[in-house]
């Protein structure tokens, strides 16, 4: 009889504890197919790793004082706009409170477009769901909707800094020649709107530009143009595949500029895997390198989940911690009945943030929902990205 009473008491206690086991769902989404698969894989790993760390520390504190575990799911949008829209609607129909993603800028733009533009606008039937982007980096997207926020580096600030620093450090270098991948929104915008502009602002003169397409394989003409221009610095605004193609052709034709500057998102494993030898010395501004304890810890934890830590996946890691902070500050209920109210609170909380704590330092946030992340310059040396200059 005593044993039975004990068993029953324990059962009650256990069920009580289980009832305490609330979950908060955060869904990640991005590209896990095609040439951009690595981005999705890494972001997912970073999110899972961050969730583990947060859960080990006790989880998220809800409004009623109890703690909830974070549950992470990751959906593949295949870098396709229609699918991305379908995915976000699907996520909104579950009990997820917020989504982290997407990977591709060509998905982000339509996706933000179907969100409600202005909060509280009753005449706007757009989706009311907070999206906190980790990777899609094309300039000026978050302002499309007040439900969209991004934690991506500000390329204007970074390239301004790069060219300024280069001008200071190498005063005898005067000309910049650009190579740009024209058919990808991000790389195209970065050369025409950011690099060209900032290089000129820092006192360089633009010797010209050569264009190619994302999947091109023959760069003979473009590199010949580069050779003729004979600029001191060549800035390549392209993704790893065509960047490697151009660098190889440059080697073949004997084009050796004094300095090489690259595109933010090419400061990853892909470039080194494709053409480490030819990419030696290329300078890229980035918002992540394992230079301090937190950064190294994040990288290790992500590696345990089979993902690589780079500026993109580490943004996803940061997002998880920022969301924890926001959820606790806004006192979300975590109850399924208050789903929409909780989502609204998260949105409001994200909108309020003026600064967030990033892995490299404090990140500023602006009224449009964009971030101004601390950055440093890395350079390809051997088989690694080595910190060249840390302005922090």
């Amino acid at each position: 009889m005593k044993k039975l009473a004990l068993a029953v008491t324990l059962a009650f206690a256990a069920s009580g504890a289980l009832a305490q086991d609330k979950t908060i769902k955060i869904t990640g989404f991005g590209a896990k197919s095609g040439v951009v698969r690595s981005f999705g894989v890494n972001s997912e790993a970073a999110m899972l790793a961050a969730a583990d760390v947060i859960n080990k520390q006790g989880g998220i504190k809800l409004a009623d004082g109890s703690k909830a575990r974070i549950e992470v799911e990751f959906l593949d949008d295949r870098c396709n706009a229609e699918e991305g829209i379908s995915v976000i609607r699907r996520i909104a129909s579950t009990d997820a409170l917020v989504a982290i993603g997407p990977t591709c800028s060509n998905v982000a733009e339509p996706l933000f477009g179907i969100l409600q533009k202005k909060v509280g606008d009753a005449g706007d039937s757009g989706l009311q769901f907070p999206v906190f982007t980790d990777v899609a980096i094309k300039v000026g997207l978050a302002k499309i909707s007040e439900w969209a926020f991004r934690n991506v580096p500000n390329e204007m600030t970074m390239y301004n800094s790069v060219f300024y620093w280069l001008h200071q450090k190498y005063p005898n270098l005067k000309t910049v020649y650009g190579g740009v991948e024209e058919d990808f929104a991000h790389s195209r915008a970065t050369w025409h709107v950011v690099m060209k502009d900032r290089a000129q602002a820092s006192g360089f003169s633009i010797a010209g530009e050569s264009k190619w397409l994302l999947a091109d394989t023959n760069f003979a003409t473009q590199v010949r143009e580069m050779k003729k221009a004979n600029a001191d610095i060549i800035a390549i605004s392209a993704h790893p595949f065509s960047t490697c193609g151009v660098l190889r052709e440059m080697q073949r034709q004997g084009v050796k500029p004094k300095l090489l500057v690259g595109l933010t998102s090419s400061s990853s494993l892909e470039t080194l895997q494709g053409c480490a030898k030819q990419a030696q010395g290329i300078i890229i501004p980035t918002s992540f390198a394992p230079v301090n304890k937190e950064a190294r810890f994040a990288a290790e934890e992500t590696a345990k989940k089979k993902g690589a830590a780079d500026l993109h996946s580490m943004a996803a890691w940061e997002n998880m911690f920022i969301l924890k902070q926001v959820m606790e500050a806004e006192k979300i209920s975590g109850a399924k009945a208050n789903l929409q109210a909780d989502r609204r609170k998260i949105r409001d909380g994200l909108a309020k943030l003026a600064t967030t704590q990033g892995l490299l330092g404090v990140t500023k946030r602006d009224a449009e929902g964009e971030a101004d992340k601390p950055y440093l310059f890395v350079q390809a040396k051997g088989n690694d990205w080595v910190v060249l200059h840390n302005p922090l």
Partner: protein, 292 residues
């Protein structure tokens, strides 16, 4: 003027890679009168498989990788035959077309799955050799690709016109029923055609990887499109046509790029193809056996 000549020569040389892919496309179309849209994907897949050699033996010489790609291409060719052509009845050309599309997607996804979509450096031979012809510079490795394309063409023509298998293949392509009546095993001949084009595809994929310097899933679609264009311009079923068309397309592409820039380049290539189709639908070397 020099710019123009240099652009032409750069383009024509790179066209040798298109020629290689085109030969396989045109052979399958010429023999089986069916489009194998999975051909370029299988070729790239074979090239990727070639890299497995490096996984086993770190410092393996490039020719060993190419050999492995060659063999893998043959295997993939046979798999494509089995999954898309063997079981589907001859009266359903649309079904085979869609099945090859399915295989293209499958092969692409398998590649993406194993490499996480990232480009892989490919071993090259003579990739740093630049020859000079007067004022022009020519890429040594592309000349090698051209040489191999010509060798393949000679080899295939010998196969088609001097061997029993070639005789059987031509018989099946002309009159498959009559060929069966003569005791030729149509299924076996078709399978062999796919294996042979697959072997060729493996080499093509490997050499393209070597010329580009890296393999990426990005290569599949443009190669498929170029291969189809080359097949049409060269004449369906004509191997010498495929080579000449490949060089032509490469040359024109670069010239268009020189004059109108890279964003309009492909537009003009498409229009060139369209013009060809309307005014010379048989291609440069119209096939002698023209029956529908």
């Amino acid at each position: 003027m020099l710019d123009f000549l240099q652009a032409v020569s750069d383009g024509v040389l790179f066209g040798a890679t298109y020629a290689l892919i085109g030969i396989g496309f045109t052979l399958v179309f010429g023999v089986m009168h069916k489009l194998n849209l999975a051909y370029a994907a299988a070729s790239v897949g074979g090239a990727y498989a070639g890299l497995l050699v490096l996984g086993v033996m770190a410092g393996a010489p490039p020719w060993l990788v190419f050999l492995c790609a060659f063999a893998a291409g043959g295997v993939l060719g046979y798999l494509v035959y089995l999954s898309c052509f063997h079981f589907i009845p001859l009266g359903s050309p649309l079904a085979t077309l869609m099945a090859t599309v399915g295989m293209l997607l499958l092969i692409d996804e398998v590649i993406v799955h194993f490499t996480n979509g990232m480009p892989l450096a490919y071993p090259a031979m003579f990739d740093d050799v630049m020859l000079r012809a007067g004022e022009l510079t020519l890429r040594g490795d592309l000349l090698l690709v051209f040489g191999i394309a010509v060798l393949c063409m000679v080899g295939l023509l010998l196969l088609l016109y001097r061997t029993r298998l070639g005789l059987a293949t031509r018989a099946v392509s002309q009159q498959s029923v009559a060929a069966q009546l003569c005791g030729i095993r149509v299924g076996l001949v078709n399978a062999m055609t796919f294996v042979i084009t697959g072997l060729l595809g493996g080499i093509a994929g490997a050499l393209i990887g070597a010329s580009v310097g890296a393999l990426s899933p990005l290569l599949t679609t443009p190669l498929t499109v170029k291969g189809l264009i080359v097949t049409v311009i060269g004449g369906l079923g004509s191997i010498p046509g495929a080579i000449i068309a490949g060089l032509l397309v490469g040359g024109f592409e670069n010239v268009f790029q020189l004059f109108r820039g890279v964003t309009e380049r492909d537009l003009y290539v498409m229009l060139l193809l369209f013009v060809f189709l309307v005014f010379r639908p048989g291609g440069l070397f119209e096939s002698k056996d023209d029956h529908h």
